[in-house]
Homo-oligomer: 348 residues x 2
Amino acid sequence: MTGEDSAGRRRRGPSMADVARMAGVSGQTVSRVANGRNNVDAATRDRVRAAMSQLGYRPNSAARALRNGEYRSIGVIVFELHSFGTTRTLDAIATAATISGYAINLVPVLDVSQSAVTNAFTRLGEQAVDGVIILIEAHTLDEAGVRLPDGLPVVVVDSSAHYDFPIVDTDQRQGARLATEHLLNLGHATVWHLGGPPTSFAADRRRQSWEQTLIDHGREVPPVYDGDWTAGSGYEAGRQLAAKAEVTAVFVANDQMALGLLRALHERGRAVPGEVSIVGFDDMEEAAHFWPPLTTIRQNFVDVGRLSVDALIQEIQAGEHHHEPVAVAAKLVHRSSTAPPPPSASGG
Amino acid sequence: MTGEDSAGRRRRGPSMADVARMAGVSGQTVSRVANGRNNVDAATRDRVRAAMSQLGYRPNSAARALRNGEYRSIGVIVFELHSFGTTRTLDAIATAATISGYAINLVPVLDVSQSAVTNAFTRLGEQAVDGVIILIEAHTLDEAGVRLPDGLPVVVVDSSAHYDFPIVDTDQRQGARLATEHLLNLGHATVWHLGGPPTSFAADRRRQSWEQTLIDHGREVPPVYDGDWTAGSGYEAGRQLAAKAEVTAVFVANDQMALGLLRALHERGRAVPGEVSIVGFDDMEEAAHFWPPLTTIRQNFVDVGRLSVDALIQEIQAGEHHHEPVAVAAKLVHRSSTAPPPPSASGG
DNA sequence: ACACGCGATGTTGACGTCAACATCGACGGC
DNA sequence: GCCGTCGATGTTGACGTCAACATCGCGTGT
């Protein structure tokens, strides 16, 4: 009754054999019913179904996985759920995987240390997964000198191109260019940059693309300020930026840091967008309600999640890598944090 | 070499038998080495280890689960990763489970419909899990008329008490009282409330506790405004609140809605905390960088996650339910969004 | 009436692991 | 020198499922 035997030990649930006995059929017929095969007599099927629900039968996925040689499960290795982008991508991955009939096995990296990463990968090797999506920033991977189990399909999100794995990611370059050109088009002489941590490839690419865009337009490239994606780090860098009168436009590598910068600007009494224009990156839900509402680059996390799952499943089922990275386009969402520069700053 | 056989099908990895053959021992000895038993000769162990790494052996967790009758995995059923609290709790659960040697199986509910919830629970029954943590709001559960597989240990986070499952949650009542009394102590005549959706038990409790605190202090209870946890809904409700001159203090049921309210107040030109004081709930990382930085109630998500995992594992391993809900204390974090009421409003 | 086909159902064995039991050899005590 | 013991290793079988093959009975065509 309670799922325990007289000794108080956990008892296994009913198996096909139990259902078969109760329904007066063979185990194989139960299997056929459980798997929706249609070559079973209707009356028999009903009898089996009745026995199943009466016994509370549920298929043993371990036995099924062992027999079939596949788990129908994919591992997702994440570093932290603090970052908005990671969380959103994970959400999209989970949804896409579920729709495709795969379960999600979440493998957290417990801290930043190299051994924690190595540990996570070791655990991963022992998990019941058919493939892996790596959501941690790739430099961390490098440092850990990670060796994944051979023959385990892998897809990487947010990575450099020098891995031998398929890559799916937002088109960071295009997004950063969009942000930078938006500010330039408004008439700003140049655009400052508050970047993400050097350990992130995404941050790297946004910074590079911002710089290249400035160069393409023949503008001066101001020094870069680095944060670590958090609002706190945006605030710290923001205090320095806010103190510089010549700063009229800033492209911030994510919305959370932009929030910190906004606070620093408010504290200093510099008007946004009156004196300084700001563009973020991500379009987190809150960005529309920052003060002022933030102009930002919207990432299409749903597509990133779906495409990475699709690529992984293809690899699992067909054994095919395809090596050209998949880049998902971003787009600019114009709100109130950007405007033309103040007249006094028009010359640069 | 590539993990496929000549027909292009996925080939299973090497098994214990393969390792045993290469090392010239029996499968059982390989098993002993793999499980760290110490009754194996050092030289033999080395030989087995060498064979393992040369073949790229990794234990088949399906076979192990089948043999041992346990998966060492817990399912977490979540509705959405958009809400800050859910995400943070999931993170803490994943960490705690990993430390305890359990894997995490993420089971998303694809949409709000009843069938989606039922679907998710059905899927759950077929997952390779020893137990389940339910992270969705409990009213949704109710509506779905959910029947969980019998004998599967369950722990619920954020739920009413009328389930026969162990419950772990933040002490919503205590947190809401803290918030309300903080504002009262500053001298506000009464405190308005911007609550969460009626479908959430957490929102319910925060509202009830706010009301009770007001009554306990002999204050008037203003009408409640409801949001749905999002900044957008906070903004909508906030526009109404901002229009009322008599509002000097608002307790908002989460930080995201507080952000929306802040925006509405700014748009209307009402100073925070000069004219209106605001307290949020959650203490999301960004709250410290809102404008102004938000006074809020900090939830201890780490403890909630850890305690729910501990409770579940105890249930799994010992078969013991313990029915008193576990309440994790919250605490007030005082920042700049609260101050005494303006002199003009002192009388109420 | 008989062979044949076909649909419904049953039987067998293998997936990889590990507990329980069996075996074997070395060493110490008397 | 014989027996008992203990440590290292091997052998067997069972966990639950499902593909492959076997069987059985009924209807159809000639």
